[in-house]
Amino acid sequence: MTDQTQQTATVTQPRPRTRSSGGILGLTKKDFGLLVLVAILTIFAPVILNPFPAGSAMAQFNAGYPDLMQRFVIFGIFAIGFNILFGLTGYLSFGHAAFLGVGSYAGIWSMKLLTLNVIPAILVSVIVAGLFSLIVGFISLRRSGIYFSILTLAFAMMSYALAYSVLTPITGGETGLQLRASDPRIFGGELMPGMTPRATLFGMQMQDSTDLRFGAWTFTLNTGYYIAGIVLLVAFYLSIRIFRSPFGMMLRAVKSNQNRLNYTGLSPKPYTLAAFVISGMYAGLAGGLLVAMDTQVGAERMFWTASGEVVLMTILGGAGTLIGPILGAGFIKYFENIVSTINKSTLESWFAFMPDGLQDAFVAVIYPFVGKGWHLTLGLLFMLVVIFLPGGLVQGGSKLATVFRRDRKGGGVEDDAAAQRQAREE
């Protein structure tokens, strides 16, 4: 049934305009604006994320290198998909990393056995993850609330434990799976012994990059990143369409009042299962992209902490909002990859301009929060965000926006969900 959805998505032309709908690509003006915003951010990310000249002390904070940009995009997709389940239906899955992991394994096997082209790999990832989530969802959705969460968690932890140990012949266990020159690939011909197999898309290699240099600034435009970026835009577009579709409304209805839905002649289960499978396929897509960008997979990406991470991303950004999950994913990945690399010598070089005593004091105060202490900073930020911005980062953004534009009445599209959450608390 989900396949059918996607077909319709591509085939259906925007319908004749009606009062409140219309706009481009079947989106309302606001939604289209949001899509354009995400598109601009994606296209110019290599520039936006590298605000500091490469040689400067602040260059440590630059995030515009291929690996991290790819991760922003991929985990953004993962979180968008998770949000379709959690944000709309309220079902909190604690096992979504399993679908990401299964997708990754499927993707790498496709590259090992089929071809190095990433498109079949990604398709296989999505399909396999979709099938797996269909099974898990079918069973887990027999329960709701915390019972549902624990069921999904149990499935994910079983997947992890088996992948790490008993299934080592399929998963590579502890050392994971990588591509090898000796893989028995059907298409794409034999690689010369010693050649490194690389993921490609019709001749383009994922790690190909073009460096743009403006004075002191360097911006890396990476092929893999832009391919992932296009996928993100498609995924984001689909998620907007789902949010605004009658199906999306049904999902929100499931979250709001299952009893009424039942007595309106609708069984919630097919809706929740469809949402579960769609979000599982998003996770598979993210997993497939992960191996397409970086051709290896390890079982840790199915551990419960990885499932927890996507939950945190979604809540942190703003559950039920469109753009929130992407922000949350970026936020967490930024801290994981940037703050963890600041070491004592980096700090010392930042505060080098200060007199010695003061420098030492500053370093001593900041040091516990960076480098190996990055978890501490992340934990503190989780608490601060949830205490002061109950609607997540999106709410923070709209708060800022209202400060700057006092005249504008009401918030944008994105405030709705955030405001709604807040309203429910009161």
Binding site: F86, G90, L92, I139, R142, R143, S144, G145, I146, Y147, I150, L151, L153, A154, F155, M157, M158, A161, L162, Y164, S165, V166, W304, T305, G308, V311, L312, I315, L316, A319, P368, G373, H375, L376, L378, G379, L380, L381, F382, M383, V385, V386, I387, P390, R421, R424, E425
Partner: protein, 346 residues
Amino acid sequence: MDAIILQILNGLDKGSAYALIALGLTLIFGTLGVVNFAHGALFMLGAFCAVTFSSLLSFGFVPEDAGSTSVGGFSFGALQRETPYVVHWFGENAGNAIIDWAVPLSILFAIPVMIAIGVIMERGLIKHFYKRPHADQILVTFGLAIVLQEVIKYFYGANPIPTPAPDAFVGSFDFGAMLGFDPGSIVYPYWRLVYFFFAAIIIAAVFAFLQFTTFGMVVRAGMADRETVTLLGIDIDKRFTIMFGLAAAVAGLAGVMYTPINSPNYHMGMDFLVLSFVVVVVGGMGSLPGAVLAGFLLGIIEAFASMTEVLDVLPGINQIVIYLVAIIVLLTRPRGLMGRKGVMEE
């Protein structure tokens, strides 16, 4: 036969730890409706109460006549041998005995500390999250758990810290001889037996407290129907604060006594967190007996799944048995073993 008895003992012992943690978690779930991801961290803090107390007892000074210490021909700054003040004050025998009994003694230290931590946590943070969605509770308590364990890591490092039991409890008790088996066939470490009895006492105390005191009766009523109790003019909030303190103390004591079994480290809370949630949910939300029952049940099942005889038939079953049992229980009994309707179901 003796192998089975041994595994039952092992299961009861594992189950004691699960049950204690799940008990505290259920108190918080059931009374306050809060998904507390920091509960594992409370267990960990309890264990580090023992570590801290031991090191406080061993805290000492470098005797003036010690001279410079050289090890293997090198002299390292960090390797000065200290005489503990306790030994200095109470003499060689009494002082060393006190140090030896550090873990049991740290119960006295841990109870007030853990209650204080629990009360501060509830008043300072959790209180404001009662009416927030569960998702927000997860985020804030998970953040708190990370902060707590990183603080411990900052002071104690990531490596496990050995915290031995008193010498009196080193060694094993020979059940075999007692039950008429061959001597030596069923031996069980003293400290693990201590842990089991300790857990039984704590569990019994918590139940007695809730069952037989008026305070407990009000809390139980509050668990069932918070609004009515509030309407009766009872300040349920204050009682819930105390319950949080109590739950923290239960988790902390479970941690204190666990240290001789496995050396504590800063992430032990996270190791137990997922498992304790599984135990609570399998037991059934809002049910204290359910949590305890599920703790022991899963402990015993885990013990049996690790037997060679079982593993030969089902390789890898020891990896997944807990989760498998959880799935089966939740599919056959919708609200776990003894869950109440409507608790955390939306």
